[in-house]
Symmetry: C2
Subunit: 412 residues, 2 copies
């Protein structure tokens, strides 16, 4: 990937023809003006691509949006926080449909041109009567496009709003891609729902947009662990309205690599922001696996290590515990040979050929690495050339304490 | 399984012809008399069966014992605690061999008739010079057979020694099965190594003993979760010396079901003792999955729920959080239909058809269940007839704190 992209401050209103607005309709807290409803829309029809949660328990808006996405010309996204509209049955589906209806009506478009998203409490019906009457206002606020307020309106346990934009030149035309996201990654207590909405004025084929989105998600949001947990509401939506008037990007056509790289860079930026926003987490750890016989093996090893409670506890305790790491490598399910495995802490070799390595590296040297806020665990399997990396965190007593109780019902 | 077995107080010396002894040779702590070396042996050659860790990183004694087990007549087990002899390379293999050699010599048997086991610190060489000279003493202590001391000698983070025995009548002959075990199950901080040694005077075919052992382990030790972690040293060994002089038990022959059930009951008893001994754990939770399309699906669902950090945190907080449970069901990988899933807390329905159930059951009713020390989560998938159950615990801030640091190196 071209690392020369400059990710800039900006958001979903950066690309030509896109707007956003937000207001408070009392879902999060009826007695406070916390923003909890936002709309993002394009002046003109767009094409859309999306990646939704792989959890078989899918929130109503996820089911609805993945159905609507089959329409050729999505044009708007309506999203609320404070209630996930998940595990809500047929009533939840009806509510999601009503949100799409009201949005379509207020914009003069069709219902199926609207994507719906929700995040918050699971299992309680959406207070739909508070939402529907306010949707029109979101459009009327146009002219006061407020990207930052919209970004704030989707936050749940996030402590900072997350947005960014990137510009690339494709065929002599300036193409902008802007994004907003929420989620505190693997450190989020509330099932780690992650939402990401991306808008671009690129002219691109629907197939290519879907491929680019899939690839970018695999290299970004799918590379941060969420305790092995996967939310019922995870959604990444990309809308492209073609207003940059570049020559249409198609698979393998000019600009396609450039666009994919820019989209990926943007998503990686936001994924790292999620990890960086993790509360009750003290370490950001990159687990880099090299020398695997296959990428699948590399990924199995990386995920086993990144999700091991015992490994994560040791990082919290600043204990350079390579034994716990190699033991997670051993049970990962990957085809590994213990006698070939090397373990590194920020490049310092802790174990070589599966046993302790003492060649000039002391316990203190290793300990110094794990006292840092960010470090990298290198795992060399010496069996092939495949690699995989993933970002994870430590596991703190405070995380467990924070997650002991929710309001009464879970979040998604 | 016949639940009428009476599990009695007893251990590895209960069966005719078996002996055990223990001493301190300063592996755990050179300056204290903590027991850390034990021997179990039969007067006469026995047949053996075993189940070893599935972790690809296997400690030296595990590698050696699974090789030696091919001999037809194992007769002794030598075991140390305080050092796992894992990740110790060729030197570790040599040390394990030396332990077998010294044991064989002291008993006048062949090296390959000895099973070796170790548990404790990983990655440090065994202090073999302290062990070898003492092995002879273990045999000389014969006559003072001390089952309880041997059981104590294999403890690491266990707070109580774990042993039991069961008697059955097979073809008019009294057959005894005795066992000792160590491990604090899924709550053990130190990689949860579990060791279990079982002795019986049953006369049984080697094939049938291996099948009975495999079946019993699947229904006992494989039904307690260990945070998804799996030790490098897990070992279950069963020795049968035939001294009960019953008609030889063979597959499907008379007594085979009875023997299997008795062995299973014994192992289930010890598995539950491990969970009950879990420190820093406040809840023992049985996750019972019913109505799955296949046993594989049922097991995937049970394990996903039993290993979910967020679910385990909620139990610690005494929050009857069915949403976290259904969300783990959803990402388990099993073929489930969310709209068919029901969730129960000790039989009280919290969610029906994938959504909140309010039919006379209040939040307080559910909360009362999770305040108990033991409760059962029932998950009805309504897709078939397969079932699976597993025992797990909550996840406490104290567990994390306890696991933040080890000595410097991990345990196995």
């Amino acid at each position: 990937m071209d690392s020369s992209f400059v990710i800039k401050t900006g958001g979903v209103c950066a690309a030509t023809g896109f707007h956003a607005s937000a207001l408070s309709c009392g879902i999060k807290d009826p007695s406070s003006p916390k923003l909890d409803l936002a709309m993002i829309w394009s002046d003109s029809p767009a094409i859309g691509a999306a990646v939704f949660t792989q959890n078989r328990v899918k929130a109503a808006p996820v089911q609805l949006s993945s159905d609507y996405l089959r329409a050729d010309d999505p044009q708007a996204i309506i999203v609320n926080s404070g209630n996930a509209n998940a595990c809500t049955g047929p009533v939840g589906m009806e509510h999601a449909r009503q949100m799409a209806d009201a949005t379509a009506k207020s914009l003069g478009i069709r219902r199926r041109q609207v994507m719906v998203a929700s995040t918050g409490i699971i299992g309680l019906p959406l207070p739909i009567e508070r939402i529907l009457p306010r949707i029109k206002e979101l459009v009327e606020m146009n002219g006061k496009s407020d990207c930052r307020r919209a970004t704030e309106a989707i936050m749940t346990s996030d402590t900072v709003p997350k947005s960014a934009m990137v510009e690339v030149e494709i065929g002599g035309k300036k193409v902008s891609i802007g994004a907003m996201a929420k989620g505190a990654g693997m450190i989020n207590p509330n099932m780690a729902t992650m939402l990401c909405f991306i808008t671009t004025d690129a002219c691109i084929s629907k197939t290519e947009l879907q491929r680019a989105t899939r690839e970018a998600v695999d290299l970004s949001f799918n590379r941060i662990t969420i305790d092995g947990d996967m939310s019922t509401n995870d959604t990444v939506v990309v809308l492209a309205n073609g207003r940059a008037e570049n020559r249409r990007i198609t698979a393998r056509g000019p600009g396609s690599r450039l666009f994919r790289d820019a989209l990926t860079a943007l998503m990686v930026k936001l994924a790292k922001k999620m990890v960086a926003d993790g509360e009750r987490v003290t370490k950001l750890v990159e687990v880099q696996v090299n020398g695997a016989a296959s990428q699948r093996d590399a990924e199995m090893v990386a995920r086993a290590v990144a999700n091991s409670s015992l490994v994560k506890c040791s990082w919290n305790g600043e204990d350079p515990n390579w034994g716990r790491i190699i033991h997670a490598v051993g049970y990962s399910g990957a085809k590994i040979k213990p006698e070939l495995v090397d373990i590194y802490f920020d490049g310092l070799c802790a174990a070589k050929h599966g046993i302790a390595h003492h060649n000039g590296i002391s316990f203190k040297d290793l300990q110094k690495v794990v006292t840092k806020k960010k470090f990298r665990i290198g795992i060399e399997l010496n069996q092939g050339r495949a690699e995989y990396h993933i970002y994870t965190s430590d596991l703190s007593p405070e995380y467990v304490d924070f997650n002991r109780r929710e309001y009464a019902v879970p979040q998604g």
